[in-house]
């Protein structure tokens, strides 16, 4: 077993629990930094895609996993970030200004949608955000002069550090740095008073209010931060897909993002990354599988979404805490090796607790 001995309050506040944990993460970072030396460009591209999705998933995790507000419009936020960024580039704004500005614009839109959505709970919020997603798609299609309508437009490719931004390994390092920054910011907010207020209003709005948490303020902050992070991801997403068109940011993307946070494990940024890794890598894995399957099965167009659905069902039924939950169990298993009991995580049988009242 490993114990963490804490000798100062700082130890509880620091980003890493102890030196061992910090060293593991540093080792992982070193491996990621060295990856371009061994990996082909295709795999670097896949990794950058996962990094981008991870940023968006971290944003959604902040809202859904930590604040308990479900959102079916993060695909739209990703789109707003991507469009805002690309339009800024077209107007000649340099990359290092355009990306943060796109993030800010999306945060503003997030606050604008968050504010009226404050009084909505549960399924009503889900539906309102879904409706918002459709409306944003409509705006992308019909605001021709800026978005290029149905056919969209190609994303300009600015020069960064003397290279074109879409060159590898530059783009790989840029997305990695962006992900690290997103994680830094998200973890900071969660260890500060604002983060605790978000958790509080997830678990009990009444109690949070009586402790001085202003619900309207913190729900708006949560929406804004979440949208801001997702919009930030949008800037890189724009380069990844290269060509912006409205149908890239539909409701299916929103559902995929939600899948990431659920499959990854709600209430953990590490879970968000697990989820993004999973959802981002799944199509490639299925593509590989196709080669080994009999023709009649492999040619089916429904294969990918079907497998997707099956995996999602499997997670909800057998591992409701997601990959993160499985990860914790594995770690506990090894750290307690001969003593591990399956019953540690046994679920109790229960009846439905009403969520009609909040």
């Amino acid at each position: 077993m490993r114990y963490q001995f804490k000798t100062s309050y700082d130890r509880d506040i620091d980003l890493f629990g102890d030196a061992a944990q910090r060293n593991w993460y540093l080792a992982l970072l070193a491996v990621l930094c060295a990856a371009p030396l061994v990996l082909e460009q295709f795999w670097l591209g896949e990794l950058s895609y996962v990094f981008i999705l991870s940023i968006a998933a971290v944003g959604l995790m902040l809202l859904t996993g930590y604040t308990g507000q479900v959102s079916l419009c993060h695909g739209a936020f990703l789109g707003i970030g991507a469009y805002a960024y690309a339009v800024l580039l077209q107007r000649g704004v340099p990359f290092f200004v355009a990306a943060p500005l796109a993030s800010l614009i999306t945060a503003g839109v997030g606050a604008a949608i968050g504010f009226p959505a404050l009084r909505l709970v549960g399924i009503y919020l889900a539906m309102a955000t879904l409706a918002f997603n459709f409306i944003v798609e409509y705006v992308f299609v019909h605001w021709d002069s800026v978005t290029g309508g149905f056919s969209g437009f190609a994303v300009p490719q600015p020069t960064v550090f003397g290279y074109s931004i879409v060159d590898y390994p530059l783009f790989y390092y840029l997305t990695l740095a962006a992900l690290l920054f997103a994680l830094f910011v998200a973890n900071n907010i969660m260890r500060a008073p604002t983060g605790r207020a978000l958790i509080a209003l997830r678990d009990s709005e009444v109690a949070a209010q009586s402790m001085g948490v202003k619900l309207t303020r913190y729900k708006t902050i949560s929406f804004a931060l979440s949208a801001g992070l997702t919009g930030f991801a949008g800037a890189f997403f724009a380069h990844k897909i290269g060509y912006l068109a409205p149908d890239a940011f539909g409701i299916l993307l929103s559902i995929q993002l939600l899948l990431m946070v659920v499959v990854g494990g709600l209430g953990s940024f590490r879970g968000a990354i697990f989820g993004a890794l999973f959802v981002g890598a799944l199509p490639s894995v299925i593509a590989l599988l196709r080669d080994f399957l009999p023709q009649s099965v492999a040619r089916q167009p429904g294969l990918e979404p079907g497998l997707f659905g099956l995996i999602l069902i499997g997670f909800i039924l057998f591992e409701p805490h997601g990959i993160e939950g499985r990860w914790r169990k594995l770690r506990l298993f090894f750290s307690q090796f001969p003593m591990y009991r399956v019953a540690t995580f046994k679920k109790q049988k229960s009846f439905t607790k009403s969520e009609r009242f909040r």
């Binding site: 889900a126 879904l130 299609v141 167009p301 429904g302 294969l303 979404p305 997707f308 909800i316």
Partner: protein, 290 residues
């Protein structure tokens, strides 16, 4: 004038389909507090089963209708017993994700069995028209409206006058108390799912002559979901009113408003209503007691 009647009738027919799917959502939600995002896909399966019975087996339309209802009811019953029962006690959110997953699987299965090309079958109402107020109205629209009315009447009688219906109401109001009173809550829930599946099958078969059947008609469920929320999730009259309202809004905005607005009119109205009344039109505002 006759144009307005025509638009009104096609809106009403479309709205009835939304209402039926919304009814399926609300029945399940009221009883089990589960939000079934796959309701639209159940309707899609119902339409395909109808196609299989009529075109594949050459059955009479009415026999196929009853057959599809029975098959979908049994299927939904089994769905509850084997899948959904396991998530009782988990947060609502988990159920939403589970049913989204089920929707993916249903669509994939349907495209594997029936292929990705749109299909159609002939009904007694196809191509017929009846004149109302001087406007020719397709029989298909009338069949949808009449079918919805009959189905609602039957369901009302079921809940009001049969012991099973009363037990369902009891289970929906307080699961634990109903269980202690000897009501087999699990079986009641499965029956509710069966009813929802049956309603979905009716919706699918009524819809079939209006559009072609393909795996994407399940997405109509999203609008039906908007209808249920508009009416106030958990209110059966609300679901019906919400469905019809959205059907009418869509048709009229399609004719009188700018191009493409038809597709989002329902959502714009929904957002506006929710911002004024967060609990929907007929929903009761509830808050936790502390």
């Amino acid at each position: 004038m006759s144009q307005v009647i025509q638009i009104f009738m096609s809106g009403l027919a479309e709205g009835c389909i939304y209402a039926l799917v919304a009814l399926g959502f609300v029945l399940i939600y009221k009883a089990t507090e589960m939000v079934n995002f796959a309701q639209g896909d159940l309707m899609m399966l119902g339409a395909f089963v109808g196609y299989f019975l009529i075109v594949g087996l050459g059955a009479n339309y009415w026999i196929a209708l009853v057959g599809a209802v029975v098959i979908m009811a049994v299927f939904s019953y089994a769905l509850d017993v084997f899948v959904l029962r396991r998530v009782i006690g988990q947060p609502q959110f988990a159920v939403v994700m589970l049913t989204i997953g089920l929707g993916f699987v249903f669509r994939a299965a349907a495209s594997m069995i029936w292929g990705a090309n749109p299909l159609a079958f002939v009904t007694p109402f196809t191509d017929g028209t009846t004149s109302i107020g001087g406007a020719p109205i397709p029989d298909v629209s009338l069949s949808i409206v009449a079918g919805t009315a009959v189905l609602c009447g039957l369901l009302f009688a079921l809940f009001q006058y049969t012991p099973v219906g009363v037990a369902m109401q009891a289970a929906s109001q307080n699961q634990l108390a109903a269980y202690y009173m000897g009501i087999p809550v699990k079986r009641i829930f499965a029956l509710i799912w069966a009813i929802s599946g049956g309603v979905a099958a009716v919706a699918g078969i009524l819809l079939a002559p209006l559009t072609l059947i393909d795996t994407s008609i399940g997405f109509l469920g999203l609008k039906a979901f908007a209808a249920a929320v508009l009416g106030g999730f958990g209110s059966i009259p609300g679901a019906l009113a919400g469905g019809i309202a959205i059907g009418l809004i869509e048709q009229f905005s399609g004719v009188y408003l700018m191009d493409g607005f038809k597709d989002i009119a329902a959502y714009v109205v929904l957002l506006l209503v929710l911002f004024v009344r967060p609990q929907g039109l007929f929903g009761a505002a509830a808050r936790k007691r502390v």
